[in-house]
């Protein structure tokens, strides 16, 4: 079976570490990390990913801009994107999904929820 890979885009090292731990429980999934949207685009150009998990509020390039860029690029437009954010309002959710995000998870973060969402989107 081909190994799957995930890209975590998050400026907080604490959150990144938690997500890496959580996703390490998805068998056959390797994880790469990016500090912000711009760093994520750089990593996307260097290797292929099966899923992107991104925060919204980040310096340099935020998560929503990243989703927009990913969806408008032929090379990445089919990669599922999960948004993780503190914004729990329905409007925020709708906005993120309208931009092309596949799932929307609100903080406080719980590892089982992240694992379940990633498994569903990857079909594993």
């Amino acid at each position: 079976m081909r190994e799957l890979s995930a890209l975590i885009v998050e400026d907080s090292p604490t959150m990144r570490q938690l997500l890496v731990f959580a996703l390490s429980r998805v068998r056959g999934l390797s994880v790469a990390e990016a500090d912000d949207g711009l760093d994520a685009l750089k990593k996307l150009s260097q290797m292929s990913f099966d899923i992107i998990i991104t925060d919204i509020n980040m310096p340099i390039m935020d998560g929503l801009k990243l989703v927009k860029r990913v969806r408008s690029d032929e090379r990445y437009k089919d990669i599922p994107v999960v948004i993780i954010t503190t914004e729990g309002g329905e409007e925020d959710r709708k906005r993120a999904l309208a931009l092309g995000a596949n799932a929307y998870i609100t903080k406080p973060i719980r590892a089982p929820q992240v694992i379940q969402t990633v498994r569903q989107l990857l079909g594993v």
């Binding site: 090292p13 604490t14 959150m15 938690l18 959580a22 503190t86 903080k107 089982p112």
Partner: protein, 288 residues
């Protein structure tokens, strides 16, 4: 050899011996007599066999009386019902076991989640000696793991005898009131040296009445206090993990804050070994 073959053989052999016609005829008659007896015996045996078969056929064709048949059916039905009950019981056992496994799985998942949160928090808290990074990590734990939306960090100021704010999230720092150890909002937390959770509500807040006070301790002394005023709107309730995170912050927060403060003020050393050795020798007299 069949009866006919045996009869032919007897007749064929008589001409080879050179006996008289009378003897030959007597011999033929004797053998004929024996042959007939043999035929009769076999006939009788076949007749008996035929009678037996006819009798069995008769038995098979005789209809079983309704009462007996019903009794037999009842017995078969009872047996099947017993089997059905047994299978149902086994199925129930399996379903119960599955439920138990599911509950256990959920328990392990929750435990994993709890441990991951605690491990990452502890690991991050001790990952830096830069004061602003340590403060940021405390912020991240409260925001991302607990789900607090307004909170502050107040540090003990001996000259004023109050805990004064040095960091806030979700509200301006100047709006966070300094609190004294006797202030009702802090009193219990300072006295017990344990996190105090006043209430949970996702709406409304009062900057003078934090919902949570966490004493950040160093050697039993409350060096600072983390205060939570409100939670993210999607947070529905406080969980066991939240309580454990508050306890973790209480036990480690003071240590990491003081370590970072000391590290910032201490000059760089040429040799960590020499510095440690010198400290051990002058420390508590255990240098022998």
């Amino acid at each position: 050899m069949s009866v006919q073959d045996r009869s032919k053989g007897s007749l064929g052999s008589s001409g080879e011996r050179g006996e008289g016609p009378a003897d030959t005829l007597r011999g033929h008659l004797k053998r004929g007599e024996a042959f007939i007896e043999e035929i009769l015996g076999e006939n009788e045996a076949l007749r008996l066999r035929n009678l037996q078969l006819e009798s069995r056929l008769q038995d098979a064709m005789t209809p079983v009386p309704a009462k007996v048949a019903a009794e037999e059916l009842r017995s078969i039905f009872a047996e099947l019902q017993r089997e059905h009950e047994e299978l149902k019981r086994q199925l129930d056992d399996v379903a119960k076991e599955t439920e138990q496994y599911k509950a256990r799985y959920q328990q392990i998942e929750d435990e994993n989640d709890r441990l991951v949160n605690l491990f990452v928090s502890a690991h991050q808290l001790h990952s830096s000696l830069e004061l602003h990074e340590v403060v940021q990590i405390i912020d991240e734990i409260l925001l991302n793991f607990v789900g607090a939306s307004r909170f502050a960090l107040l540090v003990w100021d001996a000259p004023s005898g109050r805990y004064r704010p040095i960091e806030s999230y979700g509200l301006p720092l100047e709006e966070v009131p300094a609190l004294g150890p006797e202030d009702p909002a802090l009193k219990e937390c300072i006295e017990t040296r344990k996190p105090v959770v006043r209430d949970f509500a996702s709406e409304g807040w009062d900057r003078k009445q934090p919902r949570v006070c966490v004493p950040l301790k160093l050697a039993g002394e409350v060096l600072a206090v983390a205060t939570v005023y409100s939670y993210l709107e999607q947070k529905e309730a406080l969980s066991e993990i939240d309580g454990e995170l508050f306890t973790l912050l209480a036990d480690h927060g003071g240590v990491v804050l003081e370590s970072a403060r000391l590290a910032a003020g201490s000059p760089p050393v040429e040799s960590h070994f020499s510095a440690c050795q010198a400290l051990l020798k002058t420390g508590d007299g255990n240098d022998a």
